[in-house]
Symmetry: C2
Subunit: 120 residues, 2 copies
């Protein structure tokens, strides 16, 4: 995309680079906020593991399935689920007493697409 940076020849052998004019904020501020919220939600070991558990559950994972795997209280797990939900990473649906959680594949695909647009 960008070409090697131009350099200003100075006395002797030293060169001085100029600031790269080709770099642009390809991610708009509001998109950056949305994506960052999703990344932040995954940026906690327990939430990442919860998210992975839900991804295995075929849309029927409930909180009690999750709590078993962690040495944390129920309110803490509930909090982490809310963070994932608010970030749009999962959707939750009440089914009687239980709440079933499922992955939001759309946002996962968006993140993967974003990352694939980044190469050095």
């Amino acid at each position: 995309m960008t070409s090697p940076l131009p350099r200003v020849k100075l006395e002797g052998s030293s060169t001085r680079r100029t600031c790269d004019p080709n770099l642009q904020l390809r991610i708009a501020s509001d998109a950056a906020v949305t994506f960052a919220e999703a990344f932040k939600a995954l940026g906690h070991p327990v939430r990442l593991q919860i998210f992975d558990l839900i991804s295995q559950g075929l849309g029927e994972t409930c909180s009690c399935d999750i709590e078993q795997h962690f040495d944390l209280t129920q309110p803490t797990i509930s909090h982490h689920l809310k963070v994932l939900r608010d970030a749009g990473l999962i959707a939750s649906e009440s089914r009687g007493v239980w709440v079933h959680h499922r992955l939001n594949q759309t946002i996962i695909d968006s993140i993967r697409s974003l990352l694939s647009s980044m190469h050095p």
Copy 2:
């Protein structure tokens, strides 16, 4: 991977689900910590945009290229770069007065691979 959850038949038409025995922590704790650190680093709008800028720079992006795009002080940008570096997302190399930043493609590929293993 998992099959539909077994249900315990009760009186009438109601059923009661059992806890899903098939869910397992596929992400080990230490891997979860490592991945979460990377996600957390990307979990800030400015850092995500910085990361995108660096991805455009062909390994020659320096801090002054980045500061231009944000209404933040130089120490703050320096801090965000350190967070990205500590998370293994970028590598930085001193070149005279300047420090050149480049993407660590390996970890990006790892994240993409992790996400691709998650489907509902």
